[in-house]
Symmetry: C2
């Protein structure tokens, strides 16, 4: 039997109880994990996630395309920011993009020494579920949150993924955070977009006029990709 | 307008966003906060919460009654453990009890420098709500969790308290964790005892034959007390 644990914010990652090896599913629904899936669906070749801005700047000097934001705002040296739509242009097809965001790439950095790391979003939910079932491993769903705080959008995604996984009798929830995530998802599932109206980050994005991506974010399975970390670079496991 | 924020585990206490002064409501439903309310309802004079076992041992040598447990088990030097029923005997009436538990007294220690600290349980929900409304202050509900992990029973209590407080137009929720707590409470409220059947700590207590207190724990308002911290000692604010 494989266990599923939910880590509600990166700050709680040290507290996970799952013993032995596990695959981490990194979740940053608004917006990094949704954007990463969009990129691979648009035939980006690879994504180099970097936690620090200094690293991102170094890569820019070497000629890489750099996507980078902090607190929702595109940084001056970056080619573009963190909207899924930024990754859906012809310009990025076949390229390797360097990527640094407020929360998502920090979470990837934290979990990079795990047995495996995959990126989860509503837009790749079915592809991710099938991939994880084939891996036959314990799973830790790592919600990126907002600056170490709990957020609703990542947590309801954790619930949505759990709902799918436990249909397979080889998976069971192993902590109260997983139970809570599933219950919150049950409240949200009829209309996730309406549910996250009360989420703090949704309002942050609205203030910055960055919420054009909201509708796209909460539509299941618009992509058939499973971004995974391989030698510290994200690639599509299905390619 | 006063804000209500929920801190889902002590490890996230540094991340609270509430500016300025706030009152902390410490919650450890299974079992410290429920037991503390039971003690004051049974005319205990004061409770000295201590985080470390060494401190508890020192007090024992000085002749104090000591209640102390770790992982649910009464410690050898202690007079009794952490069940509400331990605090409902004639022997404790009028006494000052030294108290140290796995999670609850650690949480009190963490929050002791706040403007105010009150103890919250289902058994004092109405008294606590009235007290907080009179304080007219920002509030941080600090869930003790289990060894820094999220737990269901403290979180649904946070939701129950929020549901009462926001009936007063001077209070509003100020973080996603508060929204989630309220939603989980909505799922649990018809039968909180049945809802926490799936909680990990409920099973821990069952294994240790310590779950006799479950039914008592989830009955609202069996006490009319509001334990608060005053000069590092808990006393009943209503006395």
């Amino acid at each position: 039997m494989n266990t599923i644990e939910v880590c509600l914010t990166p700050k709680l990652f040290d507290e996970i109880i799952t013993k032995g090896n596990y695959i981490v599913v990194m979740v940053d629904i608004l917006r990094a994990s949704t954007s990463i899936c969009a990129a691979f669906a648009n035939d980006v070749k690879a994504i180099i996630p970097v936690a620090s801005l200094d690293e991102a700047r170094e890569y820019k000097k070497k000629g890489y395309l750099v996507a980078s934001e902090r607190d929702g705002k595109v940084l001056d040296f970056a080619d573009f920011g963190n909207s899924a739509f930024n990754f859906m242009t012809k310009d990025v097809v076949g390229t390797t993009i360097v990527y640094s965001t407020t929360n998502g790439t920090q979470a990837i950095d934290l979990a990079k020494h795990s047995k495996g790391l995959a990126i989860g979003a509503f837009t790749n939910l079915s592809a991710l579920t099938t991939y994880l079932i084939h891996q036959n491993s314990n799973i830790v769903i790592l919600c990126s949150g907002w600056k170490n705080k709990f957020n609703l959008e990542d947590t309801i995604f954790a619930g949505a993924l759990i709902e799918r996984l436990i249909l397979d009798a080889h998976f069971k929830m192993d902590c109260d955070a997983a139970e809570a995530s599933l219950d919150l998802w049950k409240m949200a599932k009829d209309n996730p977009l309406a549910y996250v109206e009360k989420a703090a980050h949704r309002h942050r994005l609205k203030k910055l006029n960055l919420d054009d991506v909201m509708e796209y974010t909460f539509i299941n399975d618009s992509t058939h990709v499973v971004p995974i970390l391989k030698d510290n670079i994200l690639v599509d496991a299905l390619k």
